[in-house]
């Protein structure tokens, strides 16, 4: 009898400990999406019903600030979503793609090629933005192990409290109140609406003043995951399309050496590749008006132009559904359009 009571007491203690640690984890892991929307983009994807997606975008800000699913829908009825995250590298994209294929059956996956410029893991923060939202799986664990930077612990991806316990001294009341608020999507189907206009000095992109790069060759790790992504798309009968956004700047240069390698890679793998820098003027872009940060990224006005241009290519090249003919879908997308217009309006009024 005494033994039973001891065991029961121990079990209760364990339960209370688990509850305490669980609450602590929820509180301490950063969760205020409004404070840093870019860091929570993939959470929008994980919380959405993605089953109907026919076109999925993967990559870094060259997709989530360049392609607007609402514009693709309005002009072509394309059902798309952006599954991007800050500095999403090829190994991150592979893990995200595995999750995408679990949740939907896309016909086309569009991937930004800028991640190929990084041959090694870069930053814990960007690792977490890509991987924390994904559910635990063998692929996620393998990607965590592959992408950890110096000093990172794989266990902290399983138990984030191990990483964020130090935040207790930085907690504010907002950290508590946001636990009880319903978190709104930070994006428009993965596209981050940016309404600011801060023009570049030149209307055309150029990387004058770009920082030096020691090694201009695509790294082995990036190429290995590129190979895996191509194979995964082929196994699942998904058309992979590679894109280079129409941006080229001192901060994110697209050197001729990168373009030469990319062209050769696309040809070697027989995968279509579109470098929108070559179509910059035909798209109607102008970096004195279509950028919010002096040419580093497109704003919504530039993204809409690019989306209209690319939507035409997608419609002509791939057998995509025009979802506008489906009343139920059209009603669902009207909600997306309303939210998108609201985000644009709020941004313009700031």
């Amino acid at each position: 009898m005494r033994k039973c009571r001891r065991l029961l007491g121990f079990a209760v203690f364990l339960c209370l400990l688990a509850l305490f640690l669980g609450v602590a984890q929820v509180l301490l892991v950063p969760h205020d999406r409004a404070a840093n929307p870019e860091a929570f983009l993939l959470y929008d994807y994980m919380e959405s019903d993605a089953a109907a997606d026919e076109v999925v975008f993967l990559g870094d800000c060259e997709v989530y600030e360049a392609f607007s699913p609402v514009t693709l829908w309005q002009n072509y009825g394309i059902i798309s979503r952006v599954c991007g995250s800050p500095q999403q590298l090829l190994w991150h994209s592979y893990a995200v793609l595995c999750e995408v294929l679990e949740r939907s059956d896309p016909r086309v996956v569009v991937m930004s090629v800028y991640g190929l410029c990084y041959g090694q893991p870069q930053s814990e923060a960007y690792n977490r933005m890509a991987l924390d939202p994904l559910p635990l799986s063998a692929i996620k664990w393998q990607t965590v192990r592959a992408s950890m930077t110096e000093g990172e612990s794989g266990l902290s991806y399983l138990f984030p409290l191990l990483r964020y316990h130090g935040r207790w001294s930085q907690l504010t009341w907002r950290d508590v109140t946001t636990l009880f608020e319903q978190q709104q999507p930070v994006s428009s189907r993965g596209y981050l609406v940016k309404t600011g206009v801060k023009g570049a000095l030149n209307s055309l992109p150029n990387h004058e003043g770009a920082a030096p790069v020691g090694d201009l060759s695509f790294g082995d790790m990036a190429l290995d995951y590129f190979d895996r992504i191509v194979a995964l798309c082929r196994e699942n009968d998904v058309q992979l399309v590679l894109v280079k956004a129409p941006t080229d700047s001192w901060r994110y240069p697209w050197y001729e050496e990168y373009e030469a390698q990319m062209t050769a890679l696309a040809e070697c793998y027989d995968v279509p590749y579109y470098n929108f820098l070559e179509d910059f003027e035909a798209i109607g872009l102008d970096l004195t008006t279509d950028t919010y940060d002096a040419g580093l990224h497109l704003n919504v006005y530039g993204a809409e132009k690019l989306s209209v241009w690319f939507g035409q290519i997608l419609t002509e090249q791939y057998a995509l559904t025009d979802g506008r003919e489906d009343e139920a879908l059209a009603a669902e997308w009207q909600g997306e359009i309303d939210r998108y217009e609201q985000q644009k309006k709020e941004g313009e009024n700031e």
Binding site: N36, E38, Q87, Y126, A211, P212, G214, D215, W250, L296
Partner: protein, 161 residues
């Protein structure tokens, strides 16, 4: 046969002297990968405030926020050089790259824009990487890059790898 021992002894002695005379490569300290501008040694990783205090404030500054607010990239343009600084959200802002724009900057061993490819090889030896347009020397996590055109150095850069 009678003279074989003295001959062997002489050969052995000669070999010994030659061996002692050759210093192992590892004993020769590598030339540091730094640049010299306005009497200031520029090193990848040096603190931004130290750099600015030494070089002065006659620069133009261009800034760019990193994705998701992880820090700020700063480009300081002086008359002969562009300096790239990364200021993380938390931590010290440090120099991450340098690009020389004219011959007002040199390496500590005197190489500058306008030198020849042969000059570079004589002073620094074989590069770690070489193409028709670049010679790259590496040390730990720093790369010194000489850009070439028609056998002449047209650019020198220092960067963190």
């Amino acid at each position: 046969m009678k003279h074989i021992r003295p001959i062997l002894f002489a050969v052995g002695l000669l070999t010994l002297f030659c061996t002692i005379g050759c210093r192992p490569v590892s004993d020769v300290p590598p030339t540091p990968l730094t640049l010299l501008y306005r009497d200031t040694i520029l090193t990848v990783g040096m603190q931004e405030n130290e750099m600015l205090a030494a070089l002065g404030d006659d620069f133009t500054l261009t800034e760019a926020q990193s994705c998701a607010g992880q820090g700020t990239d700063r480009l300081y343009t002086y008359s002969s050089v562009r300096l790239y600084v990364f200021a993380p959200e938390q931590g010290e802002a440090r120099l991450s790259g340098v690009t020389c724009t004219d011959d007002g900057v040199q390496t500590e061993d005197g190489l500058r824009i306008g030198c020849t490819q042969a000059d570079v090889m004589v002073v620094r030896g074989l590069p770690d990487e070489q193409t028709n347009t670049r010679m790259v020397y590496r040390q730990e996590r720093t790369a010194l890059i000489f850009t070439l055109r028609d056998g002449q150095v047209t650019g020198i850069s220092l960067t963190q790898e």
